[in-house]
């Protein structure tokens, strides 16, 4: 009997390997197609960002940071830009940024519709939820293996591992946001004769916007962390700097790469969060609404002075 237990095996590893072989042999065309599309997206982002003169791009980032978040954060972004230039890691930072944007974009294009489908159909939620749990508990390194096997080394497998790792929060929070729209709002939509399409676009999505924006923010942050790890399969960028630091036991270089990642993370986080706050339903007045309110307050203060 004891032998029976030690001999007992479930060859999951073998099955997965067989499955991967089968995909590689039979789905070459599909894999190539995915690879080409992704490569185009990544290249256009990276090419676009690299084409802008660094100083101009840095100024643009500072401007956006000041406009979206405030002048204090603007000052911080100036310091961040100076640090990145000073450490000589500008090209790596831009490369990482491009990869993050491209991966996040694809993750959102796939993830948000899945989240909407989950919110509207309980069976879809029942199927997708465990898959998301699985995706989120899997150690991020594991995604590198199939990505490298199917797509080789480089930016494309890096972004595929990244987008898979970064997608779950966008899906989850889209689903959650739509489900949290109050029953009376949904009833109001229906009672006034919304089709299910109108209900989604005129009521549910606008009201779910704060939650969806939080999901987008989370996806971007996860993408950034994964892009760094994906440098192990040749995704390049700041991760590469860190990796080189590790391989050479060069603490200084590793720290510089790490600091670059942190600065980029702070910038991306605060800026994307600011979009969540204004696009949000809770902060109802639009940008122009706020301007008008401010103007009216100003007018009142003028008239009361007289």
């Amino acid at each position: 009997m004891a032998n029976g237990i030690t001999d007992f095996q479930i060859p999951i590893g073998d099955w997965v390997a067989d499955g991967v072989d089968w995909i590689q042999i039979n789905l070459t065309g599909v894999l190539d197609g995915i690879s080409e599309v992704l490569e185009l997206v990544i290249d256009s982002f990276e090419g676009g960002l690299q084409a802008v003169p660094p100083v101009l791009l840095a100024a643009l980032i500072v401007l956006i940071a000041t406009w979206r978040v405030g002048w204090k954060f603007g000052l911080f972004s100036v310091a961040a830009m100076v640090l990145i230039f000073g450490m000589g890691i500008w090209p790596e930072t831009i490369s990482t940024l491009a990869l993050v944007i491209a991966s996040s974009l694809v993750a959102l294009i796939i993830g948000i519709p899945i989240g909407i489908a989950m919110a509207r159909h309980d069976p879809v939620e029942a199927v997708v939820r465990p898959v998301l749990d699985f995706m989120q508990t899997m150690p991020p390194f594991v995604y590198l293996i199939p990505a490298a096997i199917f797509f080789g080394l480089g930016k494309v497998p890096g972004s595929i591992a990244t987008l898979i790792f970064a997608m779950p929060p966008a899906v989850r929070l889209t689903n959650l946001g739509i489900r949290q729209v109050s029953e009376e709002h949904v009833e109001a939509g229906k009672a006034f004769g919304c089709t299910s399409h109108q209900l989604l676009f005129k009521v549910q999505l606008p009201l779910a916007m704060p939650s969806i924006m939080a999901g987008i923010n989370q996806t971007i942050m996860l993408a950034l962390s994964m892009v760094v790890i994906a440098s192990m399969i040749g995704a390049g960028g700041l991760g590469n700097t860190v990796l080189t630091g590790i391989q050479r036991l060069d603490v200084g270089l590793g720290f510089e790469g790490g600091l670059g990642v942190v600065l980029l993370a702070i910038l991306l986080d605060r800026i994307t969060q600011s979009f969540g706050a204004v696009g949000g339903a809770a902060a109802a007045p639009s940008f122009f609404g706020r301007m008008r309110q401010a103007f009216e307050r100003w007018k009142d203060s003028q008239s009361s002075d007289v």
């Binding site: 109050s182 009376e184 709002h185 009833e187 109001a188 939509g189 229906k190 009672a191 006034f192 004769g193 919304c194 089709t195 109108q198 005129k202 009521v203 606008p206 009201l207 916007m209 339903a281 809770a282 109802a284 007045p285 639009s286 609404g289 309110q293």
Partner: protein, 396 residues
């Protein structure tokens, strides 16, 4: 008045075994017993009534009595388990999805307790929501929304956002949104319950005023009897998913069907429910028709019946005055006996529409019953202290 909405044998059963629950209901099992047996909840049972065109029909009940479910079956936000809802001759339960959407856009609109406005849209855009959904042009949306906002007195706030408004103003937007579609039927789900008492009364008055100028058929859910009496032409009272009584406010208050209905009156201000005409009694005092009797025989009759006071009317039923044994005797003893001489000086009648609170002061100040007259001066009866006390006692 014509029936606008006819509800026939309407049931809603929530849960996995609706058929079994329906069968048990027919055998006379209670809502609780059915839940014990089948784990299904009876939402609404055996609703069978009609709502007349242009009336305010209030559905009252405690929470869980099924009033929200009943109203949501009228526009099929909740699908009925069995029965029919017929609006203008069309059975809503048989409508296809497309017909249903069309019906909701054109015939029935709704006002919600928590307003359910879209926070990212302006007041005017919110008011135009129904028109926007049905594909009206931008101009038409704006025009009709503005007209509806003017009706509720919010036109100056058209370009504000909902979170810049107070609760009462928000619900005005909710009302404007429902009015803008020009649907003849309005469903109002506890529409004023979230507002503070002063604003609530104001909105109720406004609704009554609105009904005077353009009468909608309104189905109004409420748990507040004061509100129901204020705005309702008829009231339906629900308990455990069943309608226990339908009637005018007066009928419900004077002849409550059971203790549940009666329990709603605790704390209700009866002096607002009734007016003098409602409680005036004709049997309390003897009545003389002036042209038929002379003074002496009247005096004799009054003495025989041991009454003290009597009412004098003329042939058309017009009130002439009050007399007592003493005043009749004095007049009869004079040289030229005249009825007029016998009428009491301090017996001013009150109009039938006078509110009880005012009648109260008159009756307590007078030592005799106070006569009540119609708008055209006809005698309706008298109110005395005993009648008043009985009426006021109905609340406790």
């Amino acid at each position: 008045m014509q029936d606008k909405v006819v509800i026939k044998d309407l049931y809603k059963i929530f849960g996995p075994e609706p058929d079994e629950a329906l069968a048990l209901l027919e055998q006379g099992f209670s809502k609780d017993a059915i839940f014990e047996r089948t784990r299904t909840t009876v939402g609404v049972q055996k609703a069978d009534f009609s709502i007349r065109e242009g009336e305010v029909f209030v559905v009252m009940g405690l929470s869980g009595s099924g009033k929200s479910t009943l109203v949501r079956m009228l526009n099929r936000l909740i699908e009925p388990t069995r029965g029919q809802v017929i609006v203008d001759g069309h059975d809503i339960t048989q409508m296809s999805k497309k017909q249903l959407i069309e019906m909701r856009r054109s015939t029935m609109s709704m006002v919600f307790q928590s307003f359910a406005l879209l926070p990212h849209k302006t007041v005017a855009e919110n008011a135009a929501f129904g028109l926007n959904v049905s594909g009206a042009s931008k101009n038409e949306q704006r025009d009709r929304a503005m007209r509806a906002l003017e009706t509720v007195g919010l036109a100056p706030n058209a370009d504000s956002y909902p979170d810049e408004l107070s609760g009462g103003m928000k619900q005005r937007v909710g009302l404007a949104r429902a009015l803008a579609t020009e649907a003849p039927i309005l469903l109002m789900d506890e529409a004023f319950s979230a507002l503070d008492p002063l604003i609530r009364t104001e909105m109720q008055d406004e609704l009554v005023r609105l009904q005077e100028t353009e009468a909608h058929t309104i189905v109004f859910i409420s748990h507040d009897l004061d509100e129901a009496i204020r705005i309702g032409d008829r009231i339906a009272i629900m308990e455990g998913g069943a309608i226990v009584q339908i009637g005018t406010p007066e009928e419900i208050v004077t002849k409550p069907a059971n203790d549940y209905v009666r329990s709603f009156f605790y704390g209700v201000d009866v002096s607002k429910v009734f007016n003098a005409g409602d409680i005036a009694s004709k049997s309390l005092l003897a009545v003389f028709e002036r042209t038929g009797v002379n003074l002496r025989s009247a005096l004799a009759q009054l003495r025989d019946h041991r009454g003290d006071v009597a009412v004098v009317i003329d042939r058309g039923g017009q009130f002439r005055g009050l007399v007592t044994v003493n005043s009749l005797a004095a007049a009869a003893a004079s040289d030229n006996p005249q009825w007029e001489a016998a009428f009491l000086k301090d017996a001013e009648p009150v109009p039938a529409e006078m509110e009880l609170s005012e009648v109260l002061t008159r009756v307590t100040a007078s030592e005799r019953p106070v006569p009540v007259l119609d708008a055209d001066g006809r005698y309706r009866g008298v109110v005395d202290k005993t009648i008043l006390l009985h009426t006021l006692d109905k609340t406790t």
